[in-house]
Symmetry: C2
Amino acid sequence: MTDQDMTSALAPRLAEAIRNKLIAGELKPGHRLSEVKLSADLQVSRNSLREAFRLLTKEGLLRHEPNRGVFVAIPSMASIIDIYRVRRVIECRAVAQAYPKHPAVGRMRAAVEEARSASARSDWGTVGSANMVFHAAIVDLADSERLSAFYLQIAAELRLSFGLLDSPELLHAPYIELNAAIVEKLDAGEMQEAAIALEAYLLQSERTVLAAFSRIPDKGKA
Amino acid sequence: MTDQDMTSALAPRLAEAIRNKLIAGELKPGHRLSEVKLSADLQVSRNSLREAFRLLTKEGLLRHEPNRGVFVAIPSMASIIDIYRVRRVIECRAVAQAYPKHPAVGRMRAAVEEARSASARSDWGTVGSANMVFHAAIVDLADSERLSAFYLQIAAELRLSFGLLDSPELLHAPYIELNAAIVEKLDAGEMQEAAIALEAYLLQSERTVLAAFSRIPDKGKA
DNA sequence: TCTGTCAATATTGTTCAACGATTATTATTT
DNA sequence: AAATAATAATCGTTGAACAATATTGACAGA
């Protein structure tokens, strides 16, 4: 068969494929996605593609204008501020009430290790991914599948913003050791201190991202 | 014409209509939704209905089994526990860091008033709705549209569980004055105390709901 | 009577073609 | 050159079609 993986339905797979293109930067913010063109490129029908569009629109990665089509969402300062607000609410609380021996702590430690080794060879893309995994693991400390799923969605949206920025080292490198410090505090059972450190960390990260964002030219253009 | 409101697209309107039927209890958990039957009832095509199904499945209100169809999600103890975990994370933090003069506080106060008057005439349905508004307003204290949208979704899922329960007075009445107390603490600028009270409140509510849930017979049957 | 096999039926998964409605573009007129 | 009308392109929705899968029911054998 020509089919690759019939384990899941077509629409979710399409959504996944498009999502990957989005966070990889292949599709630029503001760009319009033609139904007929994309359905031809991806070898699927318009209906199936539209189902995928609904999913991604609900995730905030695409924007839908009636009778005009879907566009790649244009990250704004407001969206970045909003996303960081969500992160502080969820991540700090998750850390503050964490159980120090929670399995997710192991994943956090592994993510720090991977970020360190990637940093040694200046592979900032991998550093960024490892940071992502680190924070997803933080949310997992809360032991809520709904919260974890929501966070993954928010994180994808944030990565869309990161795609516009051009200084991956500045965005990710400074936080590797801060991550390590949080793991250490968790190990020591100092959850409250870890939460406070994380909050300051996230505030600093937000400022850095916003500053980088304000430096990009012609933002908000089609 | 049968058209009611062309302001928005068809699929979201369909989703809204079905969502209302779900939280109103017209469609019972575990029930299968036939594409052909529902599309005939609602006077829409199968394709449009399927788009609505995707939305509701993503919200957790419907469950999708490949080649078998969509079913009304069956609330479980695990889902209730998960939802309350989300609520504690989001609501308590939102209260703890709230600005006492935030506009949402006014909505909280109004919700308390409405719940009180509805309670006086034993209108427990309205009391439940007012409670819902109260908690949504709490989340609005965090000033994040993503967090507020996520909470509305979680709340709809919780209402699906409430539909299985049969003691609305017990579920809602005891919390009216606790809500009032939280508003008072916020007014007094005692955010930390308000957050602590809210956490205890939510834990108690969770216990009550789980207890009521464990009393219902043949749960998890089609 | 019970059980396993297999065909018949029904439902979902996906595609395609069509048409009205809305928006974008081009051509025409003043 | 500006305003307006005609044209083209795209989306929104529908209905039908076919393949893939699941359910049902009949039937033969133990």
